[in-house]
Assembly symmetry: C2
Homo-oligomer: 668 residues x 2
């Protein structure tokens, strides 16, 4: 890692992104634009220049010229992207630029009549070196050769001779193929490039057993949904425009100490139990709950999803019911207490006696091999994504090893960390390999909270952590969602879907299921402990669901590549602190896609306010006018830097606006 960055003439320091001093790779997805920054300078007054060199997995180098973005701080920058997945690397090269030095001095000195003949001759010699030392085509050489002749043409006045040496053609040629002295490289840093779904996707969470479940009125008992009945629901999920279906655990559920409805300690015989209390005499993490069907049924379910363009994310919850097969076969994979009993989960003085946590210290190799085996079982059945339950309660080495291991066999596998814990662990899980992370989004409501948090996620953290924004989950229903009404359910979904390239909703979001368990930030009648028959057909027919709204949001997402990215998030001003304005823009195939979102964060009141756009962030000049196409309602407005907007109950809580290049008019 110790380069010759000072030993060479050129200091190339302060690189970004660098994760954990280079011990962890920086990350991007295929085609994701990101900025590489560096501080590049040399002693004295000579000109320097710099470039980013990306090396692809095949060893081929891709060079991108950098721009000096702050001369007073010697700060250089370039936007780059990698076009295939794999382990890339990058470095920054700085060099001394003899043509740049001469150009700077010659313009001043010839202009002032100082050393004129000498400066012109020295220019000719610099260009001679540029011809001799850098490979060029015949035409490129001719351009420089003409300049050399021009510089030495004593029949011409000095200004003309200088002009030959500093013509636009010569400068362009030297910019693309510079004459470089004392080229100095930064250390080489790793860049892990992953497939685009690692950054961008719309997720839908469901409990397979609920899809098709129904209460048999005659017996008063529930019939479980199956993979066959749940497969029918996939069509609706795909029709709403989701990309990923996330299934809560599908394994046999423990009988010992099974929890009843609403997390009660005693289960009724008819209670299905929590799918997170995994394992019974019917099998463990490699088995399917018999109520759901067989492996063949699962295969059909996965096949149907694939036909619909949906990926399957499976829950990986590494804990066991007391009757999990591992408990008898491998008691050393658990913790034995002083009285010989196996330790159940607890958060003193609370006890969770339906779950035994794994102990990774007694037989790490044996337990690892078993986890690797069960993961392979599901990968081999078409699962491409794991949503990992509480990864922060297992050792980091497990994830680091497992994710790397799987990547060699099934590259493209995506791991989502369901950790809601202190920031250092959240960040560490991303750094050791998780492609995606649940976030604090559900608890960020005010503009300050959202902007500050998103600035972190889209800023420095974006080099290694990718957020997945969930307004609710089966475990999280904040008071804000419980009491906010339809406005808040639309607003929180639309914000999640536009602030973050990956977002997800939990089945029932369409129905705004908002009854909370008293005193908890959680659903009443949590689906973890019972079946839910949501009677989708009836609700859809009644026309009271948010499905059409979510469909629109997902259509807008798909149509607008700017929303597929995170690091392009920029906030703008609004006079009313309840109104948040942000934009994302992206250039793709020479076309700019620019989206502006205006959201009312106050679900109770319609807000009228002025908003103030940072026009250059939209690719516009400060005095441009443009047509704002509102994509949810289809309205059009004539906008400038300053606009008056109305958002909230009287209209829509969120405007998603497309800034079409066709709509821009410049006053000049």
């Amino acid at each position: 890692m110790t380069g010759n960055r000072w030993a060479g003439h050129i200091a190339v320091v302060g690189l970004g992104p660098v994760v954990e001093h280079g011990e962890r790779p920086a990350k991007s997805v295929t085609g994701e634009e990101f900025e590489v920054a560096a501080t590049v300078f040399r002693e004295g007054h000579d000109a320097v220049s710099a470039a980013v060199v990306l090396t692809d997995p095949g060893g081929f180098e891709h060079q991108t010229a950098m721009t000096r973005v702050n001369a007073g701080l010697d700060a250089w920058s370039a936007t780059v992207s990698a076009d295939q997945p794999g382990l890339w690397s990058y470095r920054v090269q700085g060099w001394s630029d003899p043509y740049g030095t001469w150009h700077h001095d010659a313009v001043i000195k010839v202009g002032a009549g100082v050393d004129v003949a000498l400066m012109l001759e020295e220019g000719a010699r610099v260009l001679e070196r540029a011809v001799a030392e850098v490979p060029r085509t015949k035409e490129q050489i001719t351009a420089l050769a003409n300049a050399i002749v021009g510089l030495r043409d004593t029949a011409q006045p000095p200004e003309s001779r200088l002009g030959a040496g500093v013509s636009a053609e010569v400068r362009a040629e030297l910019a693309v193929r510079p004459l470089r002295e004392y080229v100095t490289s930064s250390p080489e840093y790793r860049l892990l490039v992953e497939r685009e779904r690692a950054l961008y996707g719309a997720w839908y969470e469901l409990f397979p057993r609920s899809e098709g479940a129904h209460l048999d009125e005659s017996t008063g008992r529930w019939r479980s949904g199956t993979f066959a009945t749940a497969a029918r629901r996939l069509d609706a999920v795909a029709a709403m425009g989701f990309d990923v279906v996330y299934l809560t655990p599908i394994h046999p559920i423990g009988v010992v100490n099974r929890k009843g409805r609403n997390n009660s300690l005693r289960a009724e015989p008819s209670d299905p139990g929590s799918p997170y209390a995994i394992g019974s005499s019917e099998g463990g993490h490699d088995a399917i709950h018999p109520d759901l069907g067989t492996f063949e049924d699962f295969d059909s379910f996965v096949g149907h999803a694939r036909q619909l363009g949906l990926e399957i994310a499976l829950d990986l919850a590494l804990n066991c019911a007391p009757d999990h097969p591992w408990v008898t076969a491998h008691p050393d994979w658990f913790t034995t207490r002083a009285d010989g009993s196996i330790a159940y989960a607890e958060n003193p003085p609370k006890k969770y006696q339906d779950i035994y946590p794994l102990n990774f210290d007694n037989d790490p190799e044996g337990l690892y091999a078993e986890i690797r085996r069960i993961v392979r079982v599901w990968l081999d059945r078409g699962v491409t994504i794991f949503r990992v339950d509480n990864p922060h309660t297992k050792p980091l080495w497990l994830w680091e090893r497992l994710i790397a291991d799987v990547a060699t066999e099934q590259p493209g596998t995506i791991w989502l960390a369901e950790a809601f814990t202190r920031p250092p662990m959240m960040h560490a899980l991303a750094k050791v390999g998780f492609q995606q992370s649940y976030t604090y989004y559900a608890w960020r409501h005010t503009r300050d909270e959202l902007q500050q948090y998103c600035a972190e996620l889209a800023g420095s953290a974006a080099a290694y952590m990718r957020p997945n924004f969930w307004p609710t989950t089966h475990d999280i229903l904040t008071p804000f969602m419980q009491h906010g009404g339809q406005e808040v359910w639309k607003m929180r979904a639309a914000l999640a879907a536009t602030l973050s390239p990956s977002y997800g909703i939990y089945a029932g979001y369409e129905l705004m299921e908002r009854a909370g368990r008293p005193g908890a930030e959680e659903q009443l009648d949590n689906e973890k402990y019972e079946y839910k028959d949501r009677r989708w057909a009836e609700r859809d027919a009644a026309g009271t669901t948010l499905a059409p709204y979510l469909t629109t949001i997902n259509e807008i997402r798909r149509a607008h590549p700017a929303l597929h990215r995170l690091r392009n998030l920029r906030f703008h001003q609004a006079d009313d602190e309840n109104v948040m304005v942000f934009s994302k823009s992206r250039r793709l195939y020479d076309r700019d896609d620019v989206i502006v979102v205006v959201a009312n964060l106050d679900p109770q009141h319609t807000r009228d306010t002025w908003i103030h756009l940072v026009m250059p962030d939209l690719g516009l000049d400060w005095h441009d006018r443009f047509v704002a196409h509102e994509l949810i309602t289809g309205q059009h407005w004539n906008w400038t830097q300053h606009n008056f907007v109305r958002v909230g109950p009287a209209t829509e809580p969120v405007h998603i606006i497309h800034v079409g290049p066709e709509g821009i008019t410049s006053p000049r």
Copy 2:
């Protein structure tokens, strides 16, 4: 550098100070307290703990327990220091703390009557491990053994048994000699420890030829001062309390293109020339200007300085007059232009034809060997410090190599970088080895400017850069100093001397020589181009000099170890934005030295204002009262958190206040 920081159970990340990702050492001086920070955490809910391990140059390890300073961010910190110069290293160890885990759970569960017998037995087993696994004295073992018996004493009520396991004695023993599991180390980072003068010292700059120079009225010509006459001035410099005398170059001065008074292009025959245009037929950088005397005279001068406790800093200005011996002996050490001439210094269109800059590219080894040789000449004559002129115009590799090279032969040599350039080069010079740096202090006047700049210097930069604050130099006389009057000369010296552990003044500061060359931030009649006979005796007799004030300031500095440090700088509030308040405190041999400085930054007006002290920064409680001893005037005031002060022309511009522990009274 890639540790097993994730592979172990414990994540130990986010260490500070780490310079350039660990490629450069962090720095301190002997006995300098500094904070080591780290983020330390593990999966799940078990307790962790952490320590800093400093390894001294002999390989001996010094361990300091860290404190969790922010539980929500898993942030740990410890204040450490190194007690001898040399190359140390440091790392942070994190570990799982079984006793801490048990202690946390047992207090809750026994208190709630949950698992009581089991928890008490598990406590006894943890302490059995603590006895078996960690070396302890007999008494230490007895303390734990008693606790084990107490935990198992079923005759006692559970609260008593728990009490035996969590007694203050047991906790103290486990804090000092913890039972540690899964000990995980951060990477090891280098720490370069240098002698204290690298951080702390008062400097006095003089031109030796001026000290004792006088105009011979009969001939109208000047007689140069000599080492012999200059040596007499050393007594006064020492009496004022300075630690270092910095001499501008003492070598022969070029005759070709010599500059005259006020930088004029034509020198009169009697003009002495600039000592920075080094070299003539009389010799170069290894020679002494014949007017100053011989090497023996220099030795006497150095010897006298040493008797007075003064170190000698010599100017190292690596540029040459056209008649420097190197120009004919080694033309390849300079740049030859297209017309065959040797390039002089220029900043187009300005020319500096009395100076040829060195070219380090043609014969780097030859030139390096010569520079190394001349440096050795002066080190061998008793010079211990080099003040390097314009190091930012020479390659970084030169300084990196030279400073490291000299350190092996003459450890303790100090190098001060006189660079006034863009921040990245200023920082890079410190990182490649300069022990001290000139700063932007002379151009920071407002409270915001000073506080922001000092927060950077005393904060992140303090791990590798040490400031030396100069209110003026022979090249810098800002308009603020030209027009501010006596108030500003006192204020800027006192601020420099208290904000920064190293500060310096240029001869004549006592006399407030403030006539500026029109249109320049520079002295009129710059001493670089002429002799100055300052008639010290007359001025001192007249009693109008700042010498007594500077003496007081230096006495206060020497008496107060808090002022010998940089990283302990803390700013406080004042209602008037022209009043700046800061403190420094330091614990030494179990005694706290606490200094508060209150400065009026406005030299024109006396300011009356409330100031508000952050009492914990003074080692006090918020409601404490204390006696403030003003050290310049000898006044005493009764102070609390909020105090009314008067500073400025009507009194003193700067108060330096000692917070004596004897003066503290607490209302409780």
